[in-house]
Amino acid sequence: MCAATRDDRAQKNMIEITVRLNAGLRRYRPALGIGEALPLHVPEGTNLKELLSRILQISPEEVAFLLVNGIKCSLDEPLAAGDRVALWPPVAGG
């Protein structure tokens, strides 16, 4: 399980999640402020790969760090209602 905090907000077959795009990935939603959440309604059962390619239209190859509720996740993880998704391209520091 990826999600550290989940609730039962799922209605019918759509769930609400939020996505934060960081660093170079911000260009996919340039209107969003830094750290601003993009609220999305996605079909229940959507996994991260589908979220990236189908909904956000970001190639998974561009994404180096994919966190759901602060925890690193793999692309086949299904999303749950209330999930907080955050994406980064390759970044590093020192």
């Binding site: 934060r20 390759p90 970044v91 520091g93 020192g94």
Partner: protein
């Protein structure tokens, strides 16, 4: 005939004015590489580690590596080694820019400054001409002004390393500043330079680095350039966002220490992120010598109360002056960072000391009367004011200028000191990054991330991914691919930031054609191990014991917030496993067998007979 190395050590005695040149011992160079390793070895010859770190017998050693100035990518680094004024451990602070290569072009691998001057002086080195000149007129000047003045007084292209007013006033947070804004920041090395009344060193070199096999060297160099250019970190995020691209990521993970390590997430991270630096204050990038990456930020706050300009702020500086103090105003953080540059003081330890003062204040151990103003977490104006007072050593800044260990002890709360061996921890929570917990505990210069940045494995997957919370095999990871490898890389003169695109093996492949010496991979790991062990022996003789390999109690307790609430530092408890892997006894002393393996002498009788 030396290749890679210039083959000379320049020794200047500020007490007598004597200037001498000594040949580099090539066997010692083979054993200790250069830079950090060789300067540490030279320090062991120069002094008994029990000396007073601010005494005249403690030398200040400037060192370059065999790759410094060679022209391979990012070969800008030089080190400043001495017994550390802040911590009493061995100190090795390093910096990029152009000063290190110029020292090499002037014909010197190492510069040993010994003794003390009675009056402020600067050193002018122009190839073989070395002069000690009065610096009365420069005393009190900021580094950028000092550099400009020295270029007028010496040569327009001279490269300068100096201290700011912080070093002059013996702040234990002071570093050595080169090329205007870059700091060899940690451990208080600038205080020793100030004690010696050495304001600056200006260097001009007309030579170059001679190579053993230039065809092979340049071929390896071109391969490295191609790898760096193809690397999305080196040519992508480092260029676009600098090191501060990590702010939001580490915060999102719940590993961003906040309000003096009381919490692990910061609500103001986005406002002070690398992305915000780019949008709000970035003017342009700047590169160090031969660096294709150019991660340095040149920035400016154009108006308002925090108007100012300079370089940075970097990830660690943003964190220490921001989240650690609860400050989410980027302009204030940038201003505090510029002030640290002007006074030549370490942003990490300065921010951490102010954070410690804020906690003392909020918990009633320190009054408004003592400080002169209220100092609560999140008060940007108070933070900036405190940084300036620290730099000036003025008012309560007199106390802040000696760091958080002494501050916390003075006000009866040693538990508010968030560091190890008197050095403040960095911007990666050891409650989350277990490798970093052990690294902070065992680092020879005190709690420091760059002596073994395990976050590379625990987040980026370099050399392979090991989840931050994992404990298995982490002791060996900390020891070998991080501490030993870093000790080696720090000794070569190449920047650690190349390691996102280039492997340790590829750095070895550059050293052999540069020097003509055997720098095989296995040998380099042994060299790193040898360097780590002499640093440890120095610390043992200086009075440190395994009791000092200890993290603050606070981070051993569950994290109160964020996605990893409940996690706590554990791996530092695995000291015995780590000692065993190192070939040390249960007290953390290298054994006789370990010394024999590394070909080391027990100079001070500090090692185990086991």
């Amino acid at each position: 005939m030396y290749n890679g190395y210039s083959g000379n050590i320049l020794r200047v005695d500020l007490s007598t004015g004597a200037v001498t040149r000594e040949p580099l011992d090539i066997q010692m160079a083979e054993d200790f590489v250069g830079g950090r390793g060789l300067a540490s070895r030279l320090l062991c010859t120069e002094i008994d580690p029990a000396v007073d770190p601010l005494g005249p017998e403690n030398p200040l050693i400037f060192g370059t590596g065999p790759l410094t100035g060679s022209g391979a990518p990012a070969t800008s680094r030089y080190v400043v080694v001495c017994k550390a004024p802040l911590t009493g451990t061995i100190a090795c602070s390093n910096s990029g820019g152009f000063f290190g290569p110029e020292l090499k072009f002037a014909g010197y691998d190492f510069l040993i400054i010994q003794g003390e001057s009675a009056e402020p002086v600067y050193l002018w080195i122009s190839d073989r001409t070395v002069e000690i000149r009065s610096a009365e007129a420069l005393w009190g000047e900021f580094p950028a002004a000092t550099e400009a003045a020295l270029r007028r007084l010496t040569r327009a292209t001279a490269k300068v390393a100096c201290i700011g007013p912080g070093g002059e006033r013996l702040s234990l947070l002071a570093g050595v500043v080169n090329d205007g804004y870059r700091l060899a920041a940690r451990s208080g090395v600038g205080a020793l330079m100030g004690k010696k009344k050495l304001k600056a060193i200006a260097v001009h070199g007309s030579g170059s680095v001679r190579l053993h096999d230039s065809e092979q060297f340049w071929s390896a160099t071109m391969d490295m350039h191609e790898k760096i250019a193809a690397d999305p970190v080196s040519f992508g995020s480092f260029r676009a966002y600098g090191t501060a691209s990590l702010v939001n990521l580490i915060n999102e993970m719940g590993a961003y220490p906040t309000r003096n390590f009381q919490y692990d997430t910061f609500e103001g991270a986005a406002n002070t992120s690398g992305e915000a630096v780019v949008e709000d204050i970035l003017q342009r990038n700047r590169a160090c010598f031969a660096c294709p990456i150019a991660c340095t930020r040149v920035s400016e706050v154009k108006d308002g109360p925090y108007k100012g300009r300079g370089e940075g702020p970097e990830y660690e500086s943003i964190w220490a002056l921001g989240a650690l103090c609860g400050v989410s105003d980027l302009a204030a953080v940038a201003k505090a960072n510029f002030i640290c540059g002007d006074y030549g003081i370490d942003t990490i330890s300065t921010g951490a000391t102010i954070a410690c003062a804020m906690e003392l204040f909020e918990k009633g151990a320190l009054s408004e009367k003592e400080i002169g103003f209220s100092m609560r977490f999140g008060d940007a104006a108070a933070m900036v004011r405190a940084v300036e007072m620290t730099g000036k050593r003025e008012g309560f800044g007199e106390v802040l200028a000696d760091g958080s260990y002494r501050l916390a002890a003075r006000y009866g709360h040693p538990e508010f000191f968030m560091g190890v061996k008197k050095l403040e921890m960095s911007a990666y929570s050891p409650r989350v990054f277990q490798g970093m917990a052990l690294q902070y505990a065992t680092s020879n210069r005190g709690a420091c991330h760059v002596r073994g940045n395990t976050v590379a494995a625990e987040l980026y997957g370099i050399p392979r991914y090991m989840a931050p919370e994992l404990l298995e095999q982490k002791e060996e990871m900390v020891r070998r691919p991080f501490q030993n490898s870093t000790a080696f890389v720090d000794s070569t003169g190449i920047c650690l930031f190349t390691k996102f695109a280039i492997t340790h093996r590829e750095i070895c492949a550059l050293l052999t054609p540069a020097t003509g010496l055997d720098f095989s991979f296995d040998r380099s790991i042994e060299q790193g191990d040898r360097i780590w062990n002499i640093e440890r022996m120095f610390n043992l003789r200086a009075g440190f014991t395994s009791d000092d390999d200890k993290l603050p109690q606070r981070v051993t307790e569950p994290s109160p917030d964020g996605p990893r609430a409940g996690s706590r530092a554990v791996l530092h408890e695995h000291l015995q496993t780590y000692y065993q892997l190192r070939g040390w006894d249960r007290s953390g002393r290298p054994t006789r067998a370990k010394l024999d393996e590394l070909g080391l002498e027990d100079w001070w009788g500090v090692c185990s007979d086991a």
